[in-house]
Structures are given as structure tokens and as C-alpha cells.
């Protein structure tokens, strides 16, 4: 979709020129994200939900919880699946159909951040080892595209999970029963993804659509509450220098702290 978005050559030149001076077209600082709005509990039929608006990018995430069989290699862990769909309504360039490479990468990178940070304690979602576990599906609808789907989607998933509630399941005579008690999903951590784009030789945080259309390289780094890196992905057909990698890690830790505060405030 990024390929289709057109930025006039003269505007791109202006963007690059401004970046040399450390400025951006929308007057943000290089490490400043767009206004972030997080609303939770917007879908009553979901176990948890969130709408994230990051600039003009908008994502809705919904959590659905049920029981199912575990994967054979993790018989004592619940199931967590993160999925993302770029809706045809989200952009003039989006099309219906099977998920594109872009959508698959998006879902997998977001999933990786949540999974590797051990945000959800999956061992607490095991009911009968090898037979029955709690399954947590987080589906994300991309409603409007204006760049940086990675972060917007990640914040939506984290916020939806942080506010998700489920029925308490008990095991009786080797059978799983749902009770009427409502308990929160066992959430331990708050991973925060920060995506940066390189235009010219500058790294900028939270690129919008026109910045993405002009970028050479994109890197997403997810950090956890202790400032550890838990997932990362470089994207686009270009390279990154070792110095920029380490700069990106530091920026992600710093910006991530700010955003974590906003997420925790929103899910209170």
C-alpha cells in the first residue's frame, strides 16, 4: 500500500531538506509521536476491546476468549493469536481478499512483541494439560491508514488485552466448566512498540503515510517495562547502519516509556 501512496517529488525534497535541519513537515520533533488516543471497552460483545487513534491512523482491536486444544509442543500453555486485517475501507489503495504480505508481516510483528514480552501469562491459561486450554484471539481491524500501522495496532492489542475480562473456568471430573465469575485475563507486562523510519540519514519516530512513502528503511523495536528489547523487525528493501540500530534501541526505550504511561493511564 505504501508503494501506491504518491508524494510529489517537490514535497519529498522539502521533507528531506527539513529533516537535515531536524524538522518535520507536520512540525513534530524527530522523536515525537503523533497525538495518541486510546479508548477501551468500545465493543460490548468482545471480552476486551480498544480503539487507538494515532494521528489519522485508526485501529480497533477486539479480544475473544474461548477454550480449545493446546499446540502439541506447548501442552501446558494457553493459546494467544494476534491477527490483523487491513480493511478495504481503510485506504483508497486497500483491496479485499486474502491477507497481503504486508498484513501478514504486520500481524506477526505485533504478535511477536506481545508474545515475547510474556505480556499474557499463558501458563495460567492451562486447564487440562495437553487437552484443554483457554484460547485468546485478538483480531485487529485497520480502519484508517495514515502510516505506522505497527505501533497503532500494537497499542490497540495491548490496551484491549489489559482491559479484557473472561469467565472463570474450572475443571470438574476431567471436564472444563465455565462459571459465572468474571476474572481479568492474566496480564503481567506492557510491551510498547516504537517504529522509526529512515529518510535521508535521519531516523524519525512514528512516520505518517507521506513519510512512509518517502522512507528507505523502517525499523520496529518493542521494549518491555524494564527497558529490555523483546522484539524487533527491520523492513523495506534497504539497509541500516550498526550505529543507527543502537540509536533506534535507545530511542525506542525512551519513547516507549512515555507511551507505556499513556497506555496504563487509558486502561485504568
Amino acid at each position: 500500500m505504501k508503494k501506491n501512496y504518491v508524494v510529489e517529488t517537490i514535497r519529498k525534497a522539502q521533507m528531506v531538506q527539513l529533516l537535515v535541519e531536524g524538522k518535520r513537515m507536520d512540525e513534530r520533533a524527530l522523536d515525537q509521536h503523533r497525538p495518541l488516543k486510546i479508548e477501551t471497552g468500545i465493543i460490548q460483545k468482545a471480552n476486551g476491546s480498544a480503539r487507538v487513534t494515532l494521528g489519522n491512523t485508526q485501529v480497533i482491536a477486539g479480544v475473544k476468549i474461548a477454550t480449545g486444544t493446546p499446540f502439541p509442543d506447548t501442552p501446558d500453555k494457553g493459546l494467544l493469536v494476534v491477527n490483523a486485517e487491513i480493511l478495504p475501507m481503510s485506504s483508497p489503495y486497500a483491496e479485499p481478499g486474502p491477507p497481503s504480505e504486508e498484513a501478514i508481516e504486520l500481524a506477526r510483528v505485533v504478535d511477536r512483541g506481545i508474545r515475547e514480552s510474556e505480556m499474557v501469562d499463558l501458563t495460567k491459561l492451562c486447564l487440562i494439560p495437553g487437552k484443554s486450554v483457554v484460547t485468546v484471539f485478538v483480531d485487529c481491524n485497520i480502519m484508517n491508514v495514515d502510516g505506522n500501522l505497527f505501533d497503532a495496532t500494537s497499542y490497540a492489542v495491548v490496551s484491549a488485552l489489559r482491559t479484557a475480562k473472561m469467565k472463570k473456568y474450572i475443571v470438574k471430573d476431567d471436564k472444563v466448566e465455565a462459571t459465572d465469575d468474571i476474572v481479568p485475563v492474566p496480564v503481567e507486562r506492557t510491551p510498547v512498540s516504537v517504529t522509526m523510519a529512515r529518510i535521508g540519514d535521519r531516523l524519525i519516530v512514528d512516520p505518517n503515510a507521506e513519510e512512509e512513502a518517502s522512507m528507505d528503511m523502517r525499523v520496529t523495536i518493542t521494549t518491555d517495562d524494564d527497558g529490555n528489547v523483546c522484539a524487533s523487525q527491520k523492513g523495506e528493501a534497504s539497509t541500516i547502519s550498526p550505529a543507527h540500530v543502537l540509536e533506534a534501541v535507545d530511542t525506542s526505550i525512551k519513547v516507549g516509556k512515555e507511551i507505556r504511561k499513556m497506555i496504563l493511564e487509558a486502561v485504568k
Binding site: 500481524a107 523483546c230 524487533s232 523487525q233 527491520k234 547502519s241 550498526p242
Partner: protein, 256 residues
């Protein structure tokens, strides 16, 4: 003892003497062998064995683009498919491309494109097929290492070779080149691909928890080990084209 292990659930991956399960030191690579030009039909090919990984990479092109609407007027279109054979893993893998394979195909393509001088081949397609015949840990970096050799073997103009190495964390230690067990049991994995002469990184992925210091150490170790694999890449190329003799300065003197 067995019961205790089950309770702890985690095997020890490094013993008290600092040796890993397969006897390697923390920064030691698995045995690697590379061969160039085994496939007859392909324009270029390379085969890599890296630990238990057995991967064949083949390149076709530059060739006509089909379907035509995908043509790029100013450069070549690089296509890449990373695929695992159904028999390459413990449990039979469904041969249809999984989401993981689609993502890996994308990151491999994006790791190779910066090295290929795509501007030299406008309106053409260059196809890179990476087939994992047996998989161990680190198959994507091994695949990239073979694929860039196959591109060079096909005579495609390139700025540099691309070489990968993965580093990770096991038992809270940074180690180089995780194998299958270490990948599954360890707590972090960081595949990195570099263009060694240009000093650029063309693939970077992380999953698992790294502190800031561990990240730096693993990242720098991956670059260092990548350079070691790069020497083997060069040797594999020269042994195909110069009969095993490394290029010597004498040849140049004769030319003068």
C-alpha cells in the same frame, strides 16, 4: 533426576565449563559448508549446510516479467520464495506456504535487494528460490547466505554479498549461532544479515528478551560472526571459478 528436570522444565543449555549441548563454545559457529553451482538448469545456485540445515538456493534471471503489470520500468523486480520441504522438520509440515514462510520470504527479499544492482536490469524479473531441505536453527540466515551466493553465481551485478548469522540468549548468556534446541529452549534470538564490505545491516529481527547490553553484545557478535561466514562464501565462489585456488597477486602481475 529425570523428575527434577521435568519439574524445572528447563534443560541446562550451557554447562559449568561454558560448553553448550553440542560441545561448542559460546561464540563458536556450527560447521558450515558451501557449494556453488550445483543446479544445472538454474542460472545460479548455491547449497549450504550449516549445522543440520541443508538449504538449496537457486536463481533464475534476469528474465521477462510475468504478469506484465508487475514490470518496473527502471529496475529489476526481485522475487523471493523461502519454502520448507514437508520432510524438513520433525512433524510433517504442510507444503502450502505458512504465514511464517511468507514473512521470511519478505525479509529475505528485503535483505537481498540492497545488494543487487537492480537498476542494471530494468523491466526484468530476478527469481530467488530458497528451499529448506532440512531445518535446524537459523535457517533464514543460512538461506540468505546461500541466496546471495546463488545471485553472484548467476552473474548478477552486486554491490556486495549478503551474509547472515543469528545470535541469541541461552541460560542468560549471549551466544552465537543458535541451533534448533537452543532456539526453542533459549530466551532470545536475533537473526542479522550484513553486507560486510559496505558495513550495512540488511536484515534485523529480534524475538525474545534482551537487555540493552545483551542487545549490543549479541548484535556486534552477529556482525563479527557474519564476517567469518563471509570468508567461507568468498572461498566457495573462488573455488568454483578459479579451481579452488584463491585469487593470488601473481595473476595481476602477469596481467601487467
Amino acid at each position: 533426576m529425570e523428575g527434577l528436570r521435568l519439574e524445572n522444565k528447563k534443560k541446562k543449555l550451557i554447562d559449568d565449563k561454558g560448553k553448550r549441548l553440542d560441545g561448542r563454545k559460546w561464540d563458536e559457529l556450527r560447521p558450515i559448508s558451501l557449494q556453488v553451482g550445483l543446479m544445472k538448469n538454474a542460472d545460479g545456485s548455491a547449497y549450504i549446510e550449516w549445522g543440520k540445515n541443508k538449504i538449496m538456493a537457486a536463481v533464475y534471471g534476469p528474465k521477462e516479467v510475468h504478469p506484465k503489470h508487475q514490470v518496473l520500468p527502471n529496475r529489476a523486480l526481485l522475487r523471493c520464495r523461502y519454502h520448507m520441504a514437508p520432510f524438513s522438520v520433525d512433524e510433517r509440515k504442510n507444503p502450502a506456504p505458512s504465514r511464517r514462510e511468507i514473512e521470511i520470504s519478505k525479509v529475505i527479499r528485503e535483505a537481498l535487494v540492497p545488494a543487487v544492482i537492480v537498476e542494471d536490469y530494468p523491466r526484468t524479473a530476478i527469481e530467488v528460490w530458497v528451499e529448506v531441505l532440512q531445518s535446524d536453527g537459523g535457517s533464514r540466515v543460512a538461506g540468505i547466505t546461500a541466496a546471495s551466493l546463488a545471485l553472484a553465481d548467476a552473474g548478477i551485478n552486486m554491490r556486495d554479498l549478503v551474509v547472515g548469522c543469528s545470535c541469541g540468549i541461552i541460560d542468560d548468556h549471549v551466544v552465537a549461532d543458535l541451533d534448533d534446541t537452543e532456539d526453542k529452549e533459549g530466551s532470545g534470538d536475533m537473526p542479522v544479515a550484513i553486507m560486510p564490505n559496505l558495513g550495512q545491516v540488511s536484515l534485523l529481527q529480534v524475538d525474545g528478551i534482551f537487555t540493552r547490553d545483551q542487545f549490543k553484545k549479541a548484535f556486534e557478535l552477529a556482525i563479527e560472526k557474519g564476517k567469518q561466514v563471509y570468508a567461507m562464501q568468498r572461498e566457495a565462489l573462488t573455488s568454483k571459478f578459479f579451481g579452488g585456488e584463491p585469487m593470488s597477486t601473481e595473476v595481476e602481475e602477469v596481467a601487467e
